[in-house]
C-alpha cells in the first residue's frame, strides 16, 4: 500500500508540472468560454443604444398609441429602447412613403426598421416589421405584444365595458417555466440550464479523455522502454495500478479545484444561480464514479497496447462510448423522465453523465440515485477486478495485441 502511494505521488507530481497539464488547465476553460459565450452573444444581439424606427400606419388607427407604448420600453441602462419620430405621412402617400422607407432602411440612412400596418382585403389587418435583416427576436416579441394589446383595447373600448373588466381582459399573462422541487419551486430558464449543463458535462468529458489518454500513453512509454520491469521488480502490479489511478484522481481534483477557483473569481454570483452549481452534492459523486469507472477501463486496456498507434485505437473506441451522453444531452434535458432516458441513467457507461444532466432539470427521486450509484459502484468493482487481471498479464506481454479469446483466457487464469 505504501508503494501504491509512492506511485501515486510520482504520477501526480510528474504530471502536474508537465506542459500538457498546464495547457489543459488553461486552454480548456478558454475554449469553453469561447464556445459557450460566443453563440449567445451572437444570437442575443441586443444593442446597447436606442434604435431609430418609425411606424407607417395605413389604417391611421394605431400609430399614436403604438408609439406611446413602445417609447415606454427601456434598455437596461435606462435609456429608451426605441426612438420613434412621427412619420407624418398622409394616407394617400403611403405607397410612396413605403418605397422611400424601404430604400432608407436598406441603406441604413436613418431607420433600422419600420413597423408597417395595413389592411389586406381578404385576410384583414396585417402587421410587419420591415428591416434589412430578419429582425431581432426581442424587438419582434415586444412589437407583437404591444400592437395586439392596443388592438384588443381599441376593439373593447367601443363595447362600453367596465374599466376593470377591460383591464383584466387586456392584461398580458406571461408564460413562465417553473421547476417543482422538494424544497419549493424555482423558475428556470431553458437556455441557462442547457448551457450550464452542457458546459459541465463537456468539461467532465474532456477531463476523462485527457487523463485516460495520458494514462495509456504513460503505460505505453513504460512498456516500450522496459521501465515496467524495474517497477514490477519493486512493487506488485496491483500497487502499480492502484497508484496510477490514485495519482490521476488527485490530478483531476487539482484540475477541478483550479477551475472552480477561476470560476468563482470570474463569475461567482452569476454561476451560483445555475442549477448545476446548486446540485454539486450530486454532480461531484457522479463525476468521481464516472472517472473511476473509465480510468479503470483505460488502465486495463492500456496495459495490453505496445505502441502509440494501438493506444490511439483503443482510446478512440472509448471516446465514442463517453461522448454518447453528450450527443443525447438535448433530448435528456427536454424529456428527463422519458423511459429511454431512465434506462440510460442505469447503464454504467452513460449513467453518470445522464444523471448529471437530469438532476439539473428535474428532481430525481432518491431511490433512483441509490440504484444508479449502486450499479455504478458494483460495475467499478467488477471493472477493476477484470482490469487487474488483464493488467497483470498485459503489462508483461509484448508483440501483437491479444485477441479477444486470449483476453478471455487471461481472465480465467
Amino acid at each position: 500500500m505504501k508503494k501504491a502511494f509512492e506511485v501515486a505521488k510520482w504520477e501526480f507530481l510528474q504530471k502536474v508540472m508537465s506542459k500538457e497539464f498546464i495547457i489543459s488547465v488553461v486552454v480548456t476553460p478558454v475554449i469553453f468560454i469561447v464556445f459557450s459565450i460566443l453563440p449567445s452573444l451572437l444570437a442575443d444581439n441586443d444593442s446597447d443604444s436606442p434604435k431609430a424606427i418609425t411606424i407607417l400606419d395605413s389604417t391611421g388607427l394605431y400609430e399614436a398609441d403604438l408609439r406611446a407604448e413602445l417609447e415606454k420600453e427601456k434598455l437596461e441602462d435606462g435609456q429608451p429602447r426605441y426612438v420613434i419620430p412621427k412619420s407624418g405621412v398622409e394616407q394617400k402617400d403611403i405607397q410612396v412613403a413605403k418605397k422611400r422607407l424601404d430604400d432608407s432602411v436598406f441603406h441604413k440612412k436613418v431607420f433600422e426598421g419600420y413597423i408597417y400596418i395595413y389592411e389586406q382585403p381578404d385576410s384583414g389587418l396585417q402587421l410587419e416589421f420591415r428591416s434589412k435583416s430578419m429582425g431581432n427576436f426581442r424587438d419582434l416579441r415586444i412589437i407583437d405584444a404591444k400592437f395586439n394589446s392596443i388592438r384588443r383595447t381599441k376593439m373593447l373600448e367601443n363595447k362600453n365595458l367596465e374599466q376593470s373588466l377591460l383591464d383584466s381582459l387586456t392584461k398580458e399573462v406571461d408564460l413562465r417555466s417553473v421547476k417543482i422541487t422538494l424544497e419549493g419551486e424555482e423558475k428556470i430558464n431553458f437556455e441557462t440550464q442547457f448551457f450550464s449543463t452542457f458546459i459541465v458535462i463537456m468539461a467532465l468529458f474532456f477531463i476523462i479523455m485527457f487523463t485516460g489518454g495520458s494514462l495509456v500513453r504513460s503505460l505505453v512509454e513504460e512498456k516500450s522502454n522496459r521501465l515496467i520491469e524495474i517497477i514490477l521488480s519493486s512493487c506488485r502490479p496491483d500497487d502499480l495500478l492502484m497508484g496510477k489511478v490514485l495519482g490521476l484522481t488527485l490530478l483531476v481534483f487539482a484540475q477541478l479545484t483550479i477551475w472552480a477557483m477561476l470560476a468563482i473569481a470570474f463569475g461567482g454570483p452569476m454561476l451560483a444561480s445555475a442549477s448545476i452549481f446548486q446540485n454539486l452534492h450530486l454532480v461531484i459523486p457522479y463525476f468521481m464514479l464516472a472517472f473511476l469507472f473509465y480510468v479503470s477501463i483505460f488502465v486495463g486496456l492500456g496495459s495490453i497496447v505496445n505502441t502509440e498507434q494501438e493506444a490511439q485505437q483503443v482510446t478512440t473506441y472509448l471516446t465514442l462510448l463517453i461522448i454518447f451522453p453528450v450527443v443525447i444531452l438535448m433530448p435528456i434535458i427536454q424529456n428527463p423522465d422519458q423511459e429511454m432516458v431512465k434506462i440510460f441513467a442505469y447503464i454504467p457507461f452513460t449513467s453518470p453523465l445522464v444523471m448529471i444532466a437530469r438532476v439539473n432539470v428535474v428532481q430525481v427521486p432518491f431511490y433512483e440515485h441509490l440504484i444508479a450509484m449502486g450499479i455504478l459502484l458494483v460495475s467499478i468493482l467488477v471493472v477493476i477486478k477484470i482490469s487487474v487481471k488483464i493488467f497483470r498479464i498485459g503489462i508483461l506481454s509484448y508483440g501483437k495485441l491479444p485477441s479477444f479469446k486470449e483476453l478471455m483466457n487471461w481472465l480465467r487464469s
Binding site: R226, I230, C235
Partner: protein
C-alpha cells in the same frame, strides 16, 4: 544467498523454464548464460518475483517471496529507458522509494552513486538532455540505489564505451567485494569468463551446463590447437587425428580426436605452411557455449 530449487514455468502451450536449480553464494558473480529465447528472462522474472513459477521454489536468504521481498533485489534490464522528461535526481529518488527507501535516504544514496560514476553535475538535468552512456549510468544507479543483496544485471556492458565499461565493471566488483549476490546475464562470453566464478548455461528452458567455471571448462571443454600461419592450410582438415578445423586464412583453431596428442600434428603443419605461432589452448567459454548449444539444438 539465492537458492533456486527445481523451478518450472509453463505458459499456455510452452514450457519456458523446466527444472532449473542453482545456488548463488554472496560475494560471488554468477553467470546466467544462454542464447536468445532460452528462458533467461523468464528465470530472471521469477527470481524478481514479477511472475510466479508454476512449480519449484526460490529462496533469498532462506526466505520465500513475501512482503518486502522486492526490496532485496535490484535489476538492470537489458533494454534501457527512463522517463525522458523527468530530472535525474527525481527518477533516482522515485525508484529508491519504490524499493522502500525514505526520500532522504534515497537522495543521499543517489548523490553518492552519481559521484562515483562521475556524473554529479547532471543531478538536476532532465534525462533527455543526457548522452546515451550517461542515461545508462543512471539506469545502473537505479538498480543499485537501495543497496540490494541480490543484484541481477542483464547485459550490463552493452551501450557503454570502453572507458565506461571499465567504470561499470569496477562498480560491479565493488558490490561483489561488499558481499552482494550478483547474477550476470550476458552474451559476451569473454566478459562472463573474466568475471564469473560459476555459470549456468541454459537452452530451451533446460540446464545444459552448470557449476564452477573451472569445472565446466574441464568437463565440457576440450583443449585445442591455435595456429597463425601463411599459406594454404586446407589440408589440415583431412589430417589423421584432426576432428575439425576452423580456418580463417591466417589464423586457425584445430580440435584433435580424443587420444591424439596435439603435438603430433605440429611437424606435418610446419612442413607445408609458414607457421608463425603454435599453441595449445584451454577451452574458452565461447567455444563451450557454441558447441553445447549446437549439440542441444539451439540457434
Amino acid at each position: 544467498m539465492l537458492e533456486i530449487k527445481n523451478i518450472r514455468k509453463e505458459f499456455k502451450n510452452v514450457v519456458a523454464v523446466d527444472g532449473v536449480s542453482f545456488t548463488v553464494e554472496p560475494g560471488k558473480i554468477f553467470g546466467l548464460l544462454g542464447p536468445n529465447g532460452a528462458g533467461k528472462t523468464t528465470t530472471i522474472r521469477m527470481i524478481l518475483d514479477i511472475i510466479k513459477p508454476t512449480s519449484g521454489e526460490i529462496l533469498i536468504e532462506g526466505k520465500k517471496p513475501g512482503k518486502d521481498f522486492h526490496n532485496l533485489t535490484g535489476y538492470l534490464p537489458e533494454e534501457r529507458g527512463l522517463y525522458k522528461k523527468s530530472t535525474v535526481i527525481d527518477i533516482v529518488k522515485y525508484f529508491g522509494s519504490l524499493k522502500g527507501m525514505s526520500a532522504a535516504a534515497a537522495e543521499m544514496s543517489g548523490v553518492a552513486l552519481l559521484k562515483q560514476l562521475g556524473i554529479s553535475d547532471y543531478k538536476k538535468r532532465k534525462v533527455q538532455e543526457l548522452s546515451k552512456g550517461n542515461q545508462q549510468k543512471i539506469q545502473f544507479i537505479v538498480s543499485v540505489i537501495h543497496d540490494p543483496s541480490i543484484l541481477i544485471l542483464d547485459e550490463p556492458f552493452s551501450g557503454f564505451d570502453p572507458i565506461n565499461q571499465e567504470l561499470v565493471r569496477d562498480e560491479i566488483l565493488r558490490l561483489k567485494s561488499e558481499g552482494k549476490t550478483i547474477i550476470l546475464s550476458t552474451h559476451q562470453m569473454d566478459m562472463a569468463e573474466k568475471m564469473c566464478e560459476s555459470i549456468f548455461l541454459i537452452n530451451k528452458g533446460k540446464e545444459v551446463a552448470s557449476g564452477a567455471l573451472k569445472e565446466v571448462k574441464r568437463k565440457f571443454g576440450k583443449e585445442f590447437v591455435k595456429i597463425e600461419y601463411e599459406g594454404d592450410a586446407e589440408f589440415i582438415k583431412t589430417l589423421p587425428g584432426v576432428k575439425q578445423a576452423d580456418l580463417y586464412g591466417n589464423f586457425g583453431e584445430i580440435e584433435v580426436n580424443d587420444g591424439t596428442d596435439p603435438h603430433s600434428i605440429l611437424p606435418v603443419i610446419f612442413e607445408k605452411v609458414t607457421l608463425r605461432k603454435f599453441s595449445i589452448e584451454a577451452p574458452t567459454l565461447n567455444r563451450i557455449f557454441i558447441d553445447t548449444i549446437k549439440e542441444t539444438g539451439g540457434e
